[in-house]
Amino acid sequence: MPTNGDFRNSTSLYLIAAAVILFVLGQSVFFLVKAWKQGKALGIDKKKLRDAVTSSAIFTIPSALSILATVIALAPALGMVIPWVRLSVIGNLMYESTAAEAAMEAFGHIGGMAEKVTDPTVFAGIAWVMSLGICFSLVLLPFLAKPLHKKFVEAGKKDKEETENNGEKPKKKNDISGFMDLVSPAVFIGLIGAFVARAVAGSGKPDIFGDGAGVVSVITLVTAIVVSLVFELIAKKLKLTWLEPFVMPIGMIVAMVVSVVAFNVLPPEIAIWEWRG
């Protein structure tokens, strides 16, 4: 592995990462084998099981590419290893970018995502913050998953009518359920919105291009939104279901290309204008 003397990408860090990745892979293979055997024991058609594997693999590739794009996006600051591991274990596109930002702020790393972390102590601190920040669900699962699952399976047996919606969550009868369905999207909208609002109205660190809201950040943001919406519409109108998972990565990549074009084509005084400083 070429490391160029960079501690963030040293061979030993890659080996540590490889061990973590192998562990995750091992768990997935274990559950796959057990579920496959159980499927056969239940008499499920082998073709059905094979189709589940094929369709899931195809479904996953575009999203996996957008997760890979996030690893590469975080790499200028953190190197490859931390983003790779963090997005392979519990990680999530939105959480990891946010966690990296929070950790960098806490350790006083100036320049955000575009600037290399050069202090090994700060680097290790960021790894701790990102790992501890995301770990709570693994603490909860051993206590909560079984009783919750049991309740759901029993409810399904008692009232089959409730589960006529093809694998989706059954509609609850209590009054608050309509609002509860909105909580999860609302949390994500708040999270995404923070980055959207900063690209429109936030100030950056002085002397660092692209840290604050400016012409290029707004052009990039608007391009990402518009391109994603257009492709989503195309996928929907033309019933191209295979295109749907590609929409997000296409939007992101086109927006990054447009940011390069805008920066190089616009007059310099406009291209570097960041209205909030």
Binding site: K34, A69, V89, I90, E101, F123, S131, G133, A224, S259
Partner: protein, 224 residues
């Protein structure tokens, strides 16, 4: 029938035993990673630094974790839940993938068949994601500096967050545009008065505004 029930119960219990072991081991592996970095680089970040970063994440992430466990467990089944929470990317990948596979196989999430199909789907998805990332990382690593240090491409890496979150926003905002407008306006107003506030701080009032706004709109029957 009773034999089948017994067999199912056994599988149900076994899945949860494996799942519990896998969650605890994954937790250890997750925390061994930063520890291994500290040992490898022989550096020990300050407790205060780690805590000040964590305090920005914990209120949101840990609360979301509780919500996610309650929300996703019924949809993913036993094996699918444990595996999804270990491998992550649930909302944007594992959940739609499992639902897609269950729809394809015409099985329901809380049936025995649904449990099997969901677990197979999520396990496959996790394996494919892990492999795509491993190949991608190893293929990109030698050229990364060439990309990120290239003067022509630098503006693109400076704008990674607007590009990433713009593309994510399109999907969420278009589906839930009514509940999106209010929190965005609140955050822009906050930035007008406090332009230097980082995204990791800004998301607190953002999420609060989004949830409160959604509740009010739901009460007023503007959204269902």
């Amino acid at each position: 029938m009773s034999i089948k029930n017994k067999a199912e119960k056994t599988y149900f219990d076994r899945v949860h035993s494996w799942g519990r072991i896998s969650s605890v081991t994954a937790l250890c592996v997750l925390l061994m990673f930063p520890l291994a970095i500290c040992i490898d680089l022989n550096v020990w970040p300050s407790f205060n630094g780690v805590m000040s970063g964590l305090l920005k994440l914990m209120p949101i992430y840990w609360t979301t974790s509780v919500l996610e466990v309650f929300l996703y467990t019924p949809m993913l089944g036993g094996g699918g839940t444990y595996l999804s929470f270990v491998t992550g990317n649930i909302t944007n990948l594992k959940l739609p993938c499992a639902i897609n596979a269950m729809e394809g196989a015409k099985v329901k999430a809380n049936s025995e068949e649904g449990e099997v199909i969901s677990t197979i789907s999520i396990a496959t998805s996790s394996i494919v994601t892990t492999l795509v990332m491993a190949v991608g990382v190893l293929a990109f690593a030698p050229f990364l500096e060439t990309f990120t240090e290239n003067e022509l491409l630098k503006p693109a890496f400076a704008q990674v967050l607007p590009a990433l979150f713009g593309a994510l926003a399109a999907g969420y905002f278009s589906k839930h545009w009514k509940i999106s407008i209010f929190p965005i306006l609140v955050m822009i107003v906050i930035l007008i008065f406090s332009p230097g506030m980082g995204a990791s701080t800004l998301l607190f009032p953002g999420i609060a505004a989004a949830v409160i706004g959604a509740f009010v709109m739901w009460k007023l029957k503007w959204v269902k």
